[in-house]
Symmetry: C2
Subunit: 223 residues, 2 copies
């Protein structure tokens, strides 16, 4: 049952035997849920780390108009709550729902702290996992600050240019699916705006590489 | 020099003597900077925790059009970089500039890990600090997802209603300054939109308490 945990970022580099040993030193609970069971509600305090052993869960934001918006989906094996667990305000912003039949191992904050303190490698893994979540959300925030799709694209491409300074063509880095997700927009909206920028001779995209043709107009989209 | 660190979230609850003892167990560097010195550049990897002992620093985003945007300002005593230090991609998104004469204590990631592992209280403090940063940025992200100012206000007020369920009037929780910052908008834009919502008899605000008059129209602003 625990062998899957080797694949999570928190237990990266540990063997199943080592994971069992680590877990045996702390108290934990095992819960199973059926499809559409609510695991936790938005506004509940979250004082536990969830280790998703089997199945799939989703986070839904209450939409107020009878439509809930799915914010995130997590498939086993993975962890949930690690990035905000220790916050002063650790209330959930979303409802956590079981999508399939799931099995979850639950460790309280105080027990987790004990485990992290017992081993430098797991502490490093845990800090790595929380930092990665922070970076992901920071990047999302950065792109949301640009109001127009062309502003987001311009900022992304100008960042790439700086990263590959001196080069005329540089790799786009992500496919259109990935870019749309990063910008928080739909795939068709991205395609439409990229096409316009190409048609207006502002950028050129060839073999997944991009080239800036009209830097001044591209910069203009930032404001 | 270290007595100020008592006031930081990472060293919360420690006496100056305890802080000196903790720091004496690890290697650190002390740097001083003059006003407008660049401490670190955007895209640099950040492998150190910064403890700002004296002065003030700011984070600036390269604006591409010769205008840099100040994203954050940090005054001593405080820490910087703790939330993303351990990420796989720990490149800075912003330039770090010294605003005044500053004194900074710098601890490398590996030395920090040693210190966190030596003491459960400092580990708890550190996880608390990083989680708090994550929650703050998550809340910002949530409000940026609503495209209109009225959408942001509607979401905020409907969240308050749920939090104080059963009550007709509930406290607004933040002043207009705080609300504008949370929504990422200017104060006048907030005031203008709040006034319209009041004029249209959708909400009422009295003595820093809010009451929903027309729930259906308020919900309508969410989509």
């Amino acid at each position: 049952m625990f062998s899957e945990l080797e694949k999570t970022s928190v237990f990266k580099g540990f063997t199943t035997a080592e994971i069992i040993k680590l877990l045996s030193s702390v108290h934990y609970r095992l819960h199973t849920y059926n499809p559409d069971d609510v695991i936790a509600y938005a506004c509940d305090r979250c004082d536990d780390l969830f280790l998703l052993l089997q199945g799939e869960i989703r986070g839904e934001m209450n939409g107020y108009n009878d439509k809930n918006i799915v914010i995130s989906e997590i498939c086993a094996p993975d962890t949930f709550a690690e990035a905000f667990l220790f916050a002063d305000n650790n209330e959930l912003l979303i409802n956590i729902i079981s999508t399939t039949k799931t099995k979850i191992l639950i460790i309280s904050k105080s027990e987790l702290l004990k485990m992290l303190n017992s081993n430098t490698k797991i502490l490093n893994n845990y800090l790595n996992a929380t930092s990665n979540r922070f970076v992901l959300i920071s990047e999302k925030l950065k792109f949301l600050m640009f109001k127009t799709v062309k502003g987001k694209i311009a900022n992304y491409i100008l960042d790439l240019e700086r990263e590959h300074s001196g080069k005329t063509y540089f790799p786009l880095g992500r496919n259109q699916e990935g870019l749309a997700a990063l910008f928080g927009i739909t795939r068709p909206a991205l395609t439409r705006n990229l096409s316009q920028l190409k048609k207006d001779n502002i950028i050129e995209i060839k073999h997944k590489e991009v080239r800036i043709l009209d830097r001044k107009r591209l910069v203009g989209y930032l404001s």
